[in-house]
């Protein structure tokens, strides 16, 4: 709180001009730089995964509206993403509804489901709330698996006829074709990413978002100051679901269909891990978490030999294939360490603290 107000003072005297523009510029930078960085030879070396990075960033950022800003832990966030994915897939494959109509409807539907569930459970205690979201997520998974009326495709999911006509794929790349123009799918996702996360940022810094922080910090105090805590939690839950569904809708095109794993508890767990790993205290925390998680996953699974110090001068070769197949072990370790150091800071907080300490030392200030 005090840090925010000092920043506000500094802004007013014009000391930090970047202030308000920090987040929009940061989002633009992420969208523009992510693909070149990811596809660089020293990194992953192939650009196709970059769009998945952005989509998961939207989804995990939506989860952080709950965990980071409102202090609600949901074990079923993947459900709302999956509802978006499945809505579009069903609309395209069975109902012949165009994507541009199906996507907003899917998001609305997901938000509606979240609103109803939120009305029912948002006032429950932390653990009870988490367990109830888990139960509802399990139920959604069950329904999709049960395949009512042949709509959801059961265990195999939906793949046939789930891509709109204006999506073209060639050699692993996806393109959006609009009246003669051919835009790379990545840039379409990047546009949605920037607009979507800007909306989320506006939400977070609005009076609504500030009230959510108040609820997180001290629920009893917020209530005694006249905040209808339950209503704010319900709406936070609803908005988070809407943004998750936005990610889910994009994921449908990105993965060309809907699979049951998008509704699974494991996916919900991964979303939690990514948010915590990145740093739930920061708006950009989830983005960092997604980057670390997905990068590590992609990088380590086809990483075989560690050559030290350089490939050109091999002094030491370490065969790592056997060990790195179990990369989640090291991720778990990193996760435990991150929680022990500070549960809400994550890698982004760690990086920020390190940079601050280094710059203080360079400027010769004592710590």
């Amino acid at each position: 709180m005090s840090r925010d107000s000092t920043a506000g003072v500094l802004e007013r005297v014009g000391a930090i001009d970047l202030g308000v523009w920090q987040v929009p510029l940061g989002l633009l930078a992420v969208a523009v730089l992510l693909r070149p960085v990811v596809s660089h030879d020293l990194m992953l070396g192939y650009p196709q995964v970059a769009s998945s990075f952005l989509i998961w960033m939207i989804i995990v950022a939506s989860f952080n509206l709950l965990m980071g800003y409102t202090g609600l832990i949901s074990f079923g966030h993947a459900m709302f993403m999956g509802i978006g994915t499945y809505s579009v897939a069903i609309a395209l494959s069975s109902l012949a509804v165009p994507f541009l109509l199906a996507a907003p409807l899917g998001i609305l539907f997901s938000a509606g489901v979240a609103y109803l569930i939120g009305r029912l459970i948002a006032h429950k205690g932390e653990i009870y709330f988490a367990m109830l979201t888990l139960a509802f997520a399990k139920s959604a998974h069950f329904v999709a698996n049960y395949n009512p009326g042949g709509l959801t495709g059961g265990t195999t999911g939906l793949a046939d006829g789930t891509t709109p006509a204006w999506i073209e794929t060639s050699r692993g790349f996806t393109y959006v074709v609009l009246g003669g123009f051919r835009i790379d799918w990545y840039w379409a996702v990047a546009a949605v990413f920037v607009v979507g996360l800007l909306l989320l940022w506006q939400l977070v810094r609005s009076p609504f978002g500030r009230t959510l922080v108040a609820v997180r910090e001290n629920e009893a105090l917020a209530r005694s100051m006249g905040v209808n805590v339950r209503r704010y939690k319900v709406w936070a839950f609803t908005f988070a679901a809407a943004f998750a569904a936005l990610g889910g809708v994009l994921l449908e095109i990105n993965n060309q269909g809907a699979t049951l794993s998008e509704l699974s508890i494991v996916t919900s767990g991964n979303i939690i891990i990514m948010a915590v790993l990145g740093g739930a205290n920061y708006f950009f925390g989830p983005l960092a978490g997604v980057f670390v998680w997905m990068f590590v996953e992609e990088y380590l699974t086809d990483f075989h030999t560690l050559v030290l110090p350089l490939t050109e001068v091999p002094l030491l070769r370490i065969e790592l294939t056997g060990v790195l197949a179990y990369w989640q072990f090291f991720l778990g370790l990193l996760f435990v360490v991150a929680v022990l150091v500070s549960p809400r800071e994550g890698v982004l907080g760690l990086a920020k603290a390190t940079v601050a300490r280094l710059s203080a030392r360079i400027r010769g200030e004592s710590e």
Binding site: I73, L120, I121, K124, G125, E126, I127, Y128, M131, L132, L134, A135, F136, K138, S139, F142, N145, Y146, I265, V266, G269, I272, I273, V276, V323, A325, Y326, Q328, F329, L331, G332, L333, F335, V336, V339, L340, P343
Partner: protein, 340 residues
Amino acid sequence: MSTSSLRTLGLARLSAGGAAVWGAIALLLLVAFAVEPGLFVDQFVGGLVYGMTLVLIALGLSIILGLLGIVNFAHGALFMLGAYFTYQLMALWGLSFWIALVVAPLLVGLVGVAMERLVLQWLYDEPPLAGLLAAFGLALMIQEATRAIWGDTPLSVVTPAVLAQSADLAVTTVARVRLFSVVVAALVILAVYLLIERTDFGLSVRAGVQDREMAGFLGIDMPRRFVLMFFLGAVIAGIGGVLQGTAVGMNPTMGQQYIIITFVVVVVGGIGSLFGSVVAGLLIGEAVFLTPLVLRSLADVTGIGALAVPGIGGLVPYLVMILVLLVRPRGLYGQEGFME
């Protein structure tokens, strides 16, 4: 704790609505029994074994949650380790089942103590979220280590000769090893009950559950009790793992599968109530196995095929939980206001 819960179980408190619900359930079970008696007993025993396994995991989880306020997500991983240690001892080192039954849980207990000393003890004063997340990471680590050491494929051990035969129950036969599991689990539950309710040690632990700080002021060495109870909880989960591993087999995702259902059990039973965990575990175990059968026989009797929803058994615990928490937020036997 559980003496008062026993009192609430008394029939005097049963309302008219409650009586109607229980009567309807009894009627449905009778219909199912009349339609397929053999299958009914089969499923009943299956539900009992499953429920007992759930109770064994839930006891440790409930103790740790009540005493330390930590949602130990890694408890399912400890359960899984019990099964894999059995495999290591029996299949790889050639020891007998009876040695594994004693040694494997103790080893699991040591893993539990290591977990508590190295990680979780630093998080007692943090918000509950921190403990949950750290345990989440630990569960991930144990699961991956298990995959790395014992591989991805499901494993099983050879059941000892005494337990390999079947027992005759008139309408059906049941593998002895399953009945053995039920007996061992019942003994463990009884032992835990006696320890918690009838010994000075148990008394001091209960004092810690009520008010950790105050119990510390009164001269009770709480950190030592934390370690001991963590050890105990891990050992109980380990015993569950040994029994499950011997009767059914093991795979690296079993910890994850069981921990979620076990949370459901603890929440339905009421957080902090061991008696509630036992009741809820058996209730949910039976519900998972009997609901599909009841629905199927109901579909047979009424001729409405749509009633027999395939795979409904897996969903039942969650439906039970949603229902219980909406009607009675503290769970069946939980204290009012505890962690609500």
